[in-house]
Point group: C3
Amino acid sequence: MQTRPIALLTDFGDLDAYVGAMKGVLLSLARHAPIVDITHQVPPGDIRRAALLLWQAAPYFPPGTVFLAVVDPGVGTPRRALAVEFNGFACVGPDNGLFTYLLATRSDWRAVALQAETLGLPEPSWTFHGRDVLAPAAARLAVGQTLASLGRPAGDLVRFPLPRCELESETTIVGEIIAGDAFGNAVTSVGILHREGEQLAFEPWLPGSVPARLALAGSQVIVGGLILDLVTTFGAVAPGESLAYIGSSGLLEIGVNQGRAVDQLDLAPGQAVRLSSARRTQR
Amino acid sequence: MQTRPIALLTDFGDLDAYVGAMKGVLLSLARHAPIVDITHQVPPGDIRRAALLLWQAAPYFPPGTVFLAVVDPGVGTPRRALAVEFNGFACVGPDNGLFTYLLATRSDWRAVALQAETLGLPEPSWTFHGRDVLAPAAARLAVGQTLASLGRPAGDLVRFPLPRCELESETTIVGEIIAGDAFGNAVTSVGILHREGEQLAFEPWLPGSVPARLALAGSQVIVGGLILDLVTTFGAVAPGESLAYIGSSGLLEIGVNQGRAVDQLDLAPGQAVRLSSARRTQR
Amino acid sequence: MQTRPIALLTDFGDLDAYVGAMKGVLLSLARHAPIVDITHQVPPGDIRRAALLLWQAAPYFPPGTVFLAVVDPGVGTPRRALAVEFNGFACVGPDNGLFTYLLATRSDWRAVALQAETLGLPEPSWTFHGRDVLAPAAARLAVGQTLASLGRPAGDLVRFPLPRCELESETTIVGEIIAGDAFGNAVTSVGILHREGEQLAFEPWLPGSVPARLALAGSQVIVGGLILDLVTTFGAVAPGESLAYIGSSGLLEIGVNQGRAVDQLDLAPGQAVRLSSARRTQR
């Protein structure tokens, strides 16, 4: 089997040698694995944002990729360390909710709980299991070792509550804000949208979310006390003006042209967002 | 043919999964291509700075390298997406001036306009053609697909006006400031300089720029109301003092030892810079 | 021989094309060398912090790795450029103290002084020997060229004074603060600690540092006027409270839960740190 690529997502930042040491471990155990950074700038301990980034990036990687995700505020506590094999890719990381969106949108997974002793590793440091436990496990998957060989089967993985995305009426979908991005845009749970001519096609992406087709013309987004037009590009509104648009992951987003929507519109995760169209189209 | 390396230059920053998703696409389509980051920290939408960085980095990469440059404020508008094959390397990016310096300093290029349909790609997102169109095109070049197979021939590429670099008198070269770097140094259009013993040799790098040889001794730079000595290292002046020196790309630069020249001397792109020597030397 | 991996440590930041150009050179001369970043965010010119990061990262890389370290405030002055071959890895960088910790903790090294002419390289730029001299030398080591072929033997490498780490009494080890990390934690010279059940085992890591075993229970750290409990995780103290713990490199560190110890406790390199235990345990 060809060596599997390894993609990294952490909150380590880039000021210290932490990412480097972890890559050294990967390189030591999986010399031919392509190693790719997703980001190391997850806000420290922000598990929900990391879970979203992981869900956003995963579809674009080649089959077999091993995602090594280390946002691990509970390191040193008895939280489990996991390896999860999906159909087509694998994840390694702490059991703290990091895989919530992937687990919610897939049913084809098996997980094991990792332990340094089981893996034949030396006693890990008190504070850096990313380097001492998780990276060795990811490297072993990358070189073809089986999931079962890495630990004991694990169920009941930690997940945070899923956001809602429901059809509220024939022409209104209600969801909520789930995260901000680096530019201050607010990402919502409303999606996956495809534009098909004059229609917006919604595909279910979370359990409970609904398929629907709304007319593009006259679609509006209501959030807080605001009513925003759904437009196709930031340039459709004047600088400083708010807009709603479909982000590159297929989720509805709220932005401000040349501004920071999260701050300027005072948006926060959990806040309700409604997308309304003048009419529902034929399915 | 060996897989061509791919070098990335974007304004995506490192906080989101955008660079990661783009690398996932590259890895999916060109598994064996070495992928190297130039930078992802171009100031958002700063095409002129991106064009300079691309021109600065390109000569140091191996023959065949594909440069994937995504500074794309016009994404979603009808701006063209390009692949440009030069003699020895290729570029992929939006048609917005990003390749101005490379096009100005080379005559050996051919370009095609990319389209998702022509490339057999699914309909791209509204906001992320770097991932959906440009990365797939770069990967196809990397694995040996021909330029002609990627789109229709394209001419009249967008370029911004070139800065001047002229011989104003026997002993004076006049140019202008073209960009600031991350340390607040101002890069000028005056170059390419080589030191040959006691002489400064200027080689033409832009159309209209001139070859010349000036004496190193007593060379001075005039910018704004300032007269600065041309020195070889920052350490040649006291902390806080201004200096002129030859940057690592062979262009004359203005700096402040342990300071930010752009801010402290109030320098801006377009501002005239004169390099004067006591005498012109023999050619 | 398999191509050796190359690991990079610089203070170039990520805003310019400097790292990219250096990687282009490496790729040109050592096409198959895996290239891994340790960090490019060393504070400009901070040789002591770079030396610590290099010492921290090196043990985690595969045998044979070439570390290319460019923190080079003296570029352009007559400071030497070095290649140093250790038993199991090599370093390339300026002779300014960057290798102090590695040299202090190993005796198995040989060094050569690099020169552009000797290496058959074109005249280097005035300001960027990382790209023009050091990267070519690192690439040559990576592809199997011998140390001796790169330059003339060099001794008396520049080193900064080592911090102390001494047994002050049967139950007290005295060391000093040697650096801050990116999170504002203070790293000390007291180490290497392993926890073995109820004991802390100290292994010598610097010349003059001592092996010892202290009881874990009741161990305290005295720094400035403060007395801190030695704990195993940040979560052991309330937010805003100070703590002492064993960092992931085995050195004693001082932190503030959800805060910046260096700033809040006014800690600085050179400041004495004492670790005291109620009793010494059997060796």
